[in-house]
Symmetry: C2
Subunit: 133 residues, 2 copies
DNA sequence: TTAAAATACGACTTTTTAGGTCTTATTTTG
DNA sequence: CAAAATAAGACCTAAAAAGTCGTATTTTAA
């Protein structure tokens, strides 16, 4: 299943929304209502984006989020890693589950699989969030 | 989650195995034991490959499988579609679930998402099973 | 002609992940 | 101090991936 998760889509939609409000500070609620995204879920996504400085946040009643980086500096691969953790199209290429594959010994396709991953990542690395705006 | 499923990996491993046995007929059991793949699961994967003529099968006690196509004629994208059905990196791009996305109306990233899909597919379409051997 | 060993098929169960919710704390403004 | 926002983590639910079971059918050879 080569798919983008909803979280990634929500992040992209939100970043585009925030970008459109150029420098005004926007709340999670405002975004979730306008884009029809579950509020709490979006909130947690935005928090992750903040941790990686993709967004800056202001707490308190007048608070909200604004961009912390330029959209053309955020690659899709970085966004995915920010939200989902280290990538890896198969078990043996995920840092957090090396050795979990029962086929490691009998596996006869490790190297070419690695190549596929490299090529897919190249696409994701060259695709910037600014391409979504 | 940009990942290959186990089924896809099993299919690739099996195809490589069969290819190595050049024209000898091999049984599902033989493959599953040599590659350490769950037998019944592999059996069903091989059946799907047969339906798309990637493999040819012989029933009965002396039966088994052999290649039905040359490995350099089978793209990774075709293999994925054979096993998992029509691809689509997001709901609105999957033929079997158009209209299931609650954000279709508010969505502001449809076109660029489509582009990402095109680029990923290009990779999968140009990658042939022969590249795994 | 029948037992054995293979493919063929569909229903089912289990495990894992994605998607979403709830609760509580903290921060900041008016 | 109340209201409205972010922050954080536990929790629940639904869907998908991974694997199993049961049974039918096909073919060979004793
Ligand atoms: S089957 Fe091979 S390629 Fe796939 S995860 Fe296991 S070792 Fe890696
Ligand atoms: S959010 Fe937009 S891109 Fe994603 S599935 Fe819905 S309509 Fe398609």
């Amino acid at each position: 299943m080569v798919r983008l998760t909803k979280k990634i889509e929500y992040a992209l939609m939100a970043l585009k929304y925030i970008s459109d409000e150029c420098d005004k500070i926007v709340t999670a609620k405002q975004i979730s209502e306008n884009l029809n995204i579950p509020n709490q879920l979006l909130a947690k996504i935005l928090q992750k984006l903040k941790k990686e400085k993709i967004l800056e946040s202001v707490q308190g009643i007048k608070g909200g989020y604004k961009l912390g980086k330029k959209l053309n500096e955020i690659s899709l691969s970085f966004l995915i890693e920010t939200i989902e953790g280290d990538m890896g199209i198969v078990d043996c290429l995920k840092t957090d589950r090396q050795g979990e594959c029962c086929q490691t010994d009998s596996c006869n396709i490790k190297d070419p699989i690695n190549q596929v991953q490299t090529e897919i990542y190249k696409v994701l690395k060259n695709k910037m969030v600014s391409d979504f705006v």
